[in-house]
Symmetry: none
Subunit: 197 residues, 4 copies
Amino acid sequence: MVEAGSAARRGRPRSEAARSAVLTAAAELALEGGPAAATVEAIAKRAHVSRTTIYKWWPSAASIVLEGLLDAVRASITRPSGSTSVQALVHHVSSLNAILADPAVGPLLRNVIAASTSDPAIERAVLDQWIAPRRAAVAVTLREAVDRGELPGDVDIEVAVDALVSPPYYRLVLGMPPLAAEAVDRLVETVWSGCRH
Amino acid sequence: MVEAGSAARRGRPRSEAARSAVLTAAAELALEGGPAAATVEAIAKRAHVSRTTIYKWWPSAASIVLEGLLDAVRASITRPSGSTSVQALVHHVSSLNAILADPAVGPLLRNVIAASTSDPAIERAVLDQWIAPRRAAVAVTLREAVDRGELPGDVDIEVAVDALVSPPYYRLVLGMPPLAAEAVDRLVETVWSGCRH
Amino acid sequence: MVEAGSAARRGRPRSEAARSAVLTAAAELALEGGPAAATVEAIAKRAHVSRTTIYKWWPSAASIVLEGLLDAVRASITRPSGSTSVQALVHHVSSLNAILADPAVGPLLRNVIAASTSDPAIERAVLDQWIAPRRAAVAVTLREAVDRGELPGDVDIEVAVDALVSPPYYRLVLGMPPLAAEAVDRLVETVWSGCRH
Amino acid sequence: MVEAGSAARRGRPRSEAARSAVLTAAAELALEGGPAAATVEAIAKRAHVSRTTIYKWWPSAASIVLEGLLDAVRASITRPSGSTSVQALVHHVSSLNAILADPAVGPLLRNVIAASTSDPAIERAVLDQWIAPRRAAVAVTLREAVDRGELPGDVDIEVAVDALVSPPYYRLVLGMPPLAAEAVDRLVETVWSGCRH
DNA sequence: TTCTAATCGAGACGGTACGTCAGGTCTTCTC
DNA sequence: GAGAAGACCTGACGTACCGTCTCGATTAGAA
């Protein structure tokens, strides 16, 4: 999709100012007034960008919010070097929980997840670009623990990942209060020791 | 909402036929065409009921779907007598998972949860009438296990409930495949033994 | 199209206020700013009527202008009793010329004729409801003159009608100055005596 | 607009291929799909020319159609030498009628006339470059007849011209069937003898 | 031969209006 | 008084063209 260096491109280049204004406006509107407020029309007006330009680059308002979200939390999956498996898991789940509890991120993600119900493209993007990499990070940590003999070889990784990452999403999506930090610790400990029999 | 016997009521009584036709039409439309298809307009047309009547009794299309949902799975929370704690938990989580995986229920609930994002009334109703009773059933079972000494007294019930019930919702809402029956078994076993240290 | 007395009609009746506000607004806009100004959007705004209501009753902006035009000049075809054939023809052509030269009518008709180029429905309506009755009035007068022996029996009525009524339209549509009253007199005299050989 | 010989112009010269491709494409589109089809966008696409180029040379789609029209029928006004006045008039009106009835010309002219309603530049061009020369040819013939004593000196030339040339335009613009050849003959005879008293 | 001036093509952009859809409200008549 | 029918307003949708604006590529005469 992106040319390698030289590639001369004809025509007027895309306006980066317009793109970022749209992303910002969408996020602000969604945070202020909920998903219903982030219409293409309102975004265009606030971003001082024409509606046609928006439709040229994005298929729906939800896709704009999603792109802004992915931009904002890009590279937020880190694994602390020199730590025990449990510490690594706590780090993963804690940072996931923190992101979802962040008042500037959680509501946006909730909107996007709601939109994914009626828009397969959004659903795919959420799964591929948001869910999958985060599940993978947890799964890798668990598999390394199995390799090191810390966990038995018959552990069902998928089930363990589900138990670890579901609660923050569940609470976000249903409008329940987010997990406290200590609750996250207990959750990880419970699942970890449950995996060891 | 429903009066007790005596009140006599003047005028034409509410049509039960209209109510059930509306609920059925809403469910069918939502299953056939997703959330976007279950508009008040379409429901009215399919149910052969006037739009005015619908607006008189329900505030939104989502509330109709929710009411139909609650009608359909009323009294679906049962606890098998004469069973071990683990068996009871497996029963609870399995039946929850089965309901959410049911192609006639899951999509509807997913719609309603999506609608709860932008409608506080729906959010409240989902929490109070759907989520709370099911969490309570699991929590009661866990507390009984603590009382019987099967689990230590310092178990964090809320965390354990989260770990047990979140995965089916998480998978439903994100459009992932539902948990297999054996995965449910392993999930309960993992959390149960994790709670025992 | 309209029911005779009894018919009782269910539902909210059509708003006559809205209809006339739309017709007035369309005429005003078309007179002020030319055909390009009389958009459905602008008409709706000026008439304080919603766009949807307009689309419910009219298929296009031009059809609104046309309806207003037909309303305004309804029953404008009269034939003076007790007059010679030539006087009757002068009357017909003069009043046609006056209407087309009327600054409150001519421009509107010109707009509608322009719209008829790209809209067959408008074209049909103009021919049937505007052109045909006026041609018929002239043709009747000519045929009566033939019957009375004032004109020979082999006169080509259609050709004579064309010669009499075309010039005012021609001048209107091309933006030329309208015919003066005396020019109309001379036109009728010329065609009349030309028909007598 | 056109340079006097020598001037030599620097820079890339205007592409004649582009010009004629645009004129052809505009005519084809207008004939196929009516005035609404001949948009600048569609013309550009069919002519394989960029929109910018079109806007550089023409102010509107209608002006393109008009230019093509004038190109096509240039020098179509001829007067047959050695003929009576009536024959010359019949020749003029017949060829005008034939041009307007030509399925490759009439619809285009009708489009352009419609566009003249909302575009003063088009209106001017139509009057100056299309209408005026044709009226002049007829008027000259009539004046020669007066000079030769075939017509009385008090003939109103303008009125006579109107009566002769209006009908074909009138019928074209309103979508009526064109005049038959014999009808043209009768029209000229009627007006001619009407002018002689 | 390089400059320089004009063209042409490609495509992004801000706009305006389109015609449609759904949400809600209101008015009238019927059961 | 409930319900049906239907007119109405509001607001957003996604699309089509408009006319303007950068760009780069091309083509010639002029320095």
